[in-house]
Symmetry: C2
């Protein structure tokens, strides 16, 4: 398998510049005081469409011409990737067909644009079949993580971003003894700056990446629902992401739904950011003290904020 190299990540960064938000790196004071070391967040909830998924979707679709995709683009997504694809397709004047296995209130209500068509299908039946044979839809598939086309788009939030700069208050350059903590799916296509260790986080009961890395082969989750971290529940690691994660991850951390919910409340109260449960798993792992001790800075990726207002209200109230 050809893994994307760093040159492709840089090309993706060039493509998405000007369309993707260059999200800031924000000092997380309360978390830093709790851990007694500098903690920063990379709030991809502030990204266009409310999650980091716009990056990969735009990078993918920017390489598809209307002639190549007369039927537009097709995406299979539970929500965030759908919004990224719909927004990117609109920019390039392509129609988008979104196959949504498990509609959720906010994400279905969010405007996908007039040229987008939403198809809702039962999760366990339709998703694998659509993923196997996208051609039957007449469109060009824009997968969230299974091909290099969409994958390196996620790289640029590590490189070419303020994450590489030295934030105020940091004595040593940020890159030295750095830890980066993110949902597993975000670190694929991310290349480690010199010396940084990358930790991925999965929800309890949906630890296919952790088990797969331990086994040396891709293993499935037994369920696809039953966690509030709905944005990050997937059937099995993608071939490409699995291969990348084998090379890149220092470890995979596991958090419970309760811990993810507490991290959502922490982001509300201490950071004034709206983060969805699946986007808060990295903060949950850090607040739980799951990262190895040390004095290096920690960068926590908050990957999305597309959360239903009812669930958000419940979580911030504890």
């Amino acid at each position: 398998m050809n893994l994307p190299d760093f040159g492709e990540v840089l090309q993706a960064a060039d493509r998405i510049r000007g369309e993707a938000v260059r999200t800031p790196l924000i000092y997380a004071r309360a978390a830093s005081e709790k851990l007694k070391r500098p903690v920063y967040v990379k709030p991809e909830c502030l990204q266009r469409t409310g999650s980091f998924k716009f990056r990969g979707a735009f990078n993918c679709i920017s390489q598809i011409t209307a002639a190549e995709a007369p039927g537009g683009v097709v995406a299979v997504s539970s929500g965030n990737h759908a919004q990224g694809v719909a927004a990117a397709a609109k920019i390039f004047g392509l129609s988008a067909k979104i196959v949504m296995p498990q509609p959720r209130r906010l994400k279905v209500r969010s405007p996908l644009g007039r040229r987008s068509l939403l198809l809702t299908v039962p999760p366990m039946i339709a998703t694998p079949s659509w993923r196997r044979s996208p051609k039957k839809s007449g469109g060009s598939l824009c997968p969230p993580m299974t091909t290099p086309g969409s994958l390196p788009g996620r790289g640029p939030w590590g490189w070419k971003s303020p994450m590489m700069l030295k934030p105020p208050g940091l004595k040593s350059p940020l890159c030295s003894r750095l830890l980066v903590v993110a949902g597993w799916w975000q670190v694929s296509g991310w290349r480690s700056p010199s010396g940084a260790k990358i930790y991925a986080v999965e929800p309890e009961g949906f630890d296919d990446t952790k088990r797969s890395l331990a086994a040396g082969e891709r293993l499935s989750n037994t369920q696809l629902s039953g966690s509030i971290c709905d944005a990050i529940l997937t059937p099995i690691p993608g071939e490409l992401t699995f291969a990348l994660n084998q090379n890149q991850l220092a470890d995979v951390l596991i958090v419970s739904d309760v811990q993810a919910g507490q991290a959502v409340a922490h982001c509300f109260k201490s950071l004034k950011l709206v983060v969805e449960p699946g986007g808060a798993v990295a903060m949950a792992a850090v607040l739980q003290g799951q990262v190895p001790t040390g004095d290096g800075a920690i960068i926590v990726v908050l990957s999305g904020g597309n959360v239903d207002e009812g669930m958000f209200a419940e979580l911030v109230r504890g």
Copy 2:
């Protein structure tokens, strides 16, 4: 009366650099599409202590020595200024005495630091007396807006910030035909970049600035409570802020509590930012179409995010 000049604003910017967050300027896509012109937000809810008030408090306290203030610093505040003063006093090793006219749940619960003392007093009785004779507390008063000491600290979020840069997607430089919309108290000490017009916003029923500017003299509000915009309910314009506002404001806009609440929900859903009602009045005015028509960019200041989780839950649910 000596009004602070631009040199003082620049000095304040130098003082607070490295301690205040340099908050980003974020493109507000949904608001831009609604108004058919570029709208950006300046999210001071991401500022240290959750509101822009840290800027003025730090600037004020940085000019007080321990010898000058053996009793520490005293602040009269309903919440945001209290947190700014407590945080800034801690940085300089001074004790802080906070006189809070009207305690609210979140703000009282927020840690003010071990060297801070909280005194709760009835609003209409104690506040004016504390403001008149702060010396009786044995501390050095750090007022939110009545002296040049704390006031120019708020200037730097206009100057010396990304607000002056040209954001991506803007054809013309941001400064030309620019409108800035903010709570009335934030624009004092803010100097307009070339050609920019500054609009202040007040809550319905608490329009002391609008009435005072029309009358040419400072007029009081008849009440100090009864709006969800609790952060911006004040008895009467300060002498200094009134004089500055006479020179600087293009107009004062008025929004209702319902409109402020809708703006909070808008910031939740479309921007993934936690903004308190009083911090969302500028967005409310913009969403209501209250700014004059034109094609120039609009910058909306979101001044704080210290909102009680119960109220926030109610507002985002509509």
